[in-house]
Assembly symmetry: D3
Homo-oligomer: 245 residues x 6
């Protein structure tokens, strides 16, 4: 099984980090194909960057259409997830989406701990229709740079965030954002509740979907584009909008 691991920012080091996590989670026989967009933000931290990265991501996945069995979006904002899902002829899974859906099988409500602001995560979870399953959003006061420089101190902060989420009713906690990659494994023993890593969740969920062999919808807003004209787009993306002949 070929699994496209599509980053939505242009930082290849983050793609590599996510690919490592994806390979660790993948079943035997799953080939992880990492990919980084050619344009867009270095890191997605604002609404504007997220929109731009959406286009970059669609360009990226379009290049691989027909050549992979599934796509995992390696971006914690699930950037352009629904559009990529409509566009591609294979399953597409977002990492936060996957973590939220699997968290639903771990208890009644989940929490999410990340660095910095939580409002865009709140909105994304609401767009996923899962606001009622989310007990707590915790924004830890730390930066990716601090996480590298002073790992122990930052991980202690994250653990306090996890515990806070649990006391607010979270039966499991999602660690959101590339900067927290790998922490789930290191903090799990000290955590009162299961910790969910978005990449691992997305990889296993994508594998499940490949095995279920569901066709794409032919009706509605997720039916593949057909006959759509455009200007100035990369050839593969423009071709997908026109549809397969």
């Amino acid at each position: 099984m070929k699994l496209l691991l599509a980053n939505a920012n242009t930082t290849a080091a983050i793609t590599a980090l996510c690919a490592e996590a994806a390979r660790a989670a993948a079943a035997p026989g799953t080939e992880v194909i990492p990919a980084t967009p050619r344009f867009g933000p270095a890191v997605i931290a604002t609404r504007a960057e997220n929109i731009i990265a959406g286009h970059a991501l669609l360009s990226l996945v379009a290049e691989h259409a027909g050549q992979v069995d599934a796509v995992v979006l390696a971006v914690s904002h699930d950037t352009a997830l629904e559009a990529a899902r409509q566009l591609m002829p294979c399953p597409v899974v977002g990492m936060t989406e996957a973590a939220c859906l699997l968290a639903c099988t771990q208890g009644a409500r989940f929490g999410l701990v990340t660095f910095g602001g939580v409002e865009t995560y709140r909105e994304r979870i609401a767009q996923h229709g899962l606001a009622g399953r989310c007990a707590s959003l915790v924004g830890v006061d730390a930066t990716p740079q601090e996480a590298v420089r002073d790992r122990a101190a930052v991980e202690a902060k994250v653990l306090r965030g996890i515990t806070h989420a649990a006391t607010e009713g979270a039966d499991s906690v999602i660690l959101g954002g590339a900067a927290l990659a790998g922490m789930a494994a290191r903090l799990q023993d000290a955590s009162p509740v299961p910790l969910l890593d978005g990449i691992a969740c997305a990889v296993t969920l994508a594998e499940s979907l490949v095995r279920l062999r569901l066709p794409k919808p032919r009706l509605g807003s997720f039916a593949a584009p057909q006959g759509r004209e455009s200007v100035g787009l990369d050839a593969p993306l423009a071709a997908m909008l026109r549809g397969f002949t």
Copy 2:
């Protein structure tokens, strides 16, 4: 991997039917262990039966605690799902729960088609926190008996139900209830949207969860019972309420 397929009604023929579907969906290496409760309703069609079957199901899964890697509840009402999840030291997945969660990866909203009344499905989907993802609930006017006697006519009705759900905005449709087992495969080609079979969804989701190796929560309302006393229960269930050690 050992997967307990726990029916919640006492009709062994339905257990067998579900086991067949589970084996068809299971990955190589997954052993499906079907099980039928010793007491309770022949079929669950009322609120009272669903409560009684919940106890029967807990008794049943308790017998297998520690001997299986995961549990799939082969009952479309997800009977006693949360309680079984709390009780068992392994992942537990409900078939409608699984279908709903995977349907979330197929589009914006899903539909559900079943025989007879839909109100208890509406409630269960709301309890799963997914009411906002459900576009349409269709109760087809047919009985399991008719489905056997006049399969073509009933499947035509179900297909009309599927199409109706799609026009109401469903990007995928769940076929709910044991009486519709196997129909997803037969009707898929004629359906405008992907059809989800609860057993297949639950089996793959359970396999995913086993591979993720998440620990159980030690805190909150899903932490395993400990020191709970009871009267007149089957020994394995009473033992699980008291807790291990």
Copy 3:
């Protein structure tokens, strides 16, 4: 009027306590008939126990079908309430349900104070469709044992919980759980808002419903079971599933 007061756990002392409260609240002419299940948990504190107790409760009420004018469920989780309501030919009222409904007549929003975790109360209130009327859920850090041993200290804690709920917008407060029985009367004078006792609320509400003489629905998911077969159940419960005649 004969009022069945059905406990859902097997501790007769709790049944007796609730019966005393019920008699204090009942109108002249109301006979309170206390009943305790023959099997199930000693106390309901986990999801698994609640499911088991649901079966036990249905067995218990089935024994009294046709012999009582109404049923009050003396269990703060409203265990198996909807199923008992479907099953019985008379009104059935849950104690937390009743307290919530009557709290709606005391102001805009209510609070609930109980011992320990509040998540299952949050879910139950949401299932009652009343989440929007609930301003605050307070879990007091105390046990039933402490409430007996050091009543003054625990009641001071409960009063702080009540006041907290009021500052969060609760115009009235429900005291939830058998362990808080009787506290409403003792703490009312010191409380800034009215305190609701579930048993008292349920008894008066049941009496009201008896006087209204509403028929049971003949359609939908609350119509009485008819012709339902089962295995291994107590004779009265099995008979009710088959239906009268």
Copy 4:
């Protein structure tokens, strides 16, 4: 027990009709005291009339403050209910409020059938926080005049509305509006679900509340007004805004 039955429109014939229904529902020993405002709309059919009637109703109940044990608002819009509740030193119950709350004990969801538009009922039920318990709102195309002139035809229409609500999931149906007074009793036998009459529900609920002897809140937005100055109001209403003593 003295029960003020306060109409909110100025049509004494409607007050008399409601008083008759109230007396039929009241327990022995309950004295029903009907009252009609001195100013305001003849019938409340618009938003503007409902606001004006709110003031008229407050003036009316203020005259009886301290002289009655409870108040039932005999107006299907529950006009000024929350304000009257704040103002009066005794329980105050609205007829649609009461019907909705008691309908919650009859099944999962209820319907409401009335003459004409349903939007303001939709809003009122949502303000009561019970939108999730309402399955169906049916506006029958008929007028109070027609109901008098051609009772059989109009009642047939209402019965079709009731049946429609039941097929949409209503386990019980509220008949809303004075023009449908008395129909519940006449249509009940033909109805597949229980029919709720607002006046009967409100009277029994008010009697229950009187027996529970709950104090009024001293905190929050339902605490009685104190020291509020006004201009040009009836003396009793102005006095209540200033507070006692």
Copy 5:
């Protein structure tokens, strides 16, 4: 353009204050016509006063029907807004309504800071259907009297409330209540987010609506009253209920 600025309480000094704010916000060519009711509460601080003031406000605006191009309700509770909107042949805008709608264009969610209790604001925002856009309601512990006596101290409290709302996710903050009039301008520089003044928002929104020249609905619950009879009302209001011609 003639803009009626209708206060709902009887304190002319507050009308004057609001008129000053309205004139500061109005476009050149907009004439602000302040008006104060002849009866009702001096200030609206309770539910009962708000209902009474609703009638007073309708009487007041009815006097100006046909003589003004739009109405702004200068009362932070948006008292009788929907009724005035139905009644009047021109646009009617509430000051908190306007602030909430314009706040929606400043970010994802807004906050509201006021003196005293926030529960009635919570309800009003929910009635406006905007609960999901409201991040935070802050009740500052201060009185209008203190705001005059010790302006600096009270404004410091308000600023702390604003900052708190921002940390809870508010991208803008509404200052609610006449007692905070003028503070938005003084505190804006120190505030991390834009501050919205209800009067200014309502005036500009009303001007926009006048320019859009939208007709009134002829159908539904906002169609103008026609042929409605009443007793004891001011002549202009009674005339409007009967309808023109």
Copy 6:
């Protein structure tokens, strides 16, 4: 006042059409500056096109940053609205957003009529937090081509859609999509409720916001980007991500 009218698709004819509508709605002294993206879809009809157009739109508005007083997005999907709002130092208004907000001042609930599918409008309105104010979404079975070829027939269909929305409770109706531009004026007389044109609403709302002179938030997810690095973007957009100075 300079008002940038930013189309999000690359069809200049649609930009011109919208500019004409904008100029008709604009106040004297408002200069409308139409602009069309250099890349992206010819028309936005799919999820993928909407994402791509989002990037194109941000590139477009970034070119005008600092040179205009406000931006109106002339695209019925409110494409990239929140991102543009974060990015630009002036007010940004979406045409469907504006129509929804102003519709809130016309009654309780609004409807929306458009050509084709309605699901993405349903989602957008929900993201605006206004699902509770939306009574009806009507997808008319017609194409823009038909609207040109057989205007009378298509407008009759749209009018039937409007009337249907009104009977479902809409007090006003938004005509959504460029293909319905101009219809509001032509159909208004025959419509039972006011019709809202997105461009006209957005222009007047933008003018209001300019006059209110609200600062941009310095905190939260709408604070302007600062120091954000990117690859391969147009110079103005890259500059705005880095921030001023």
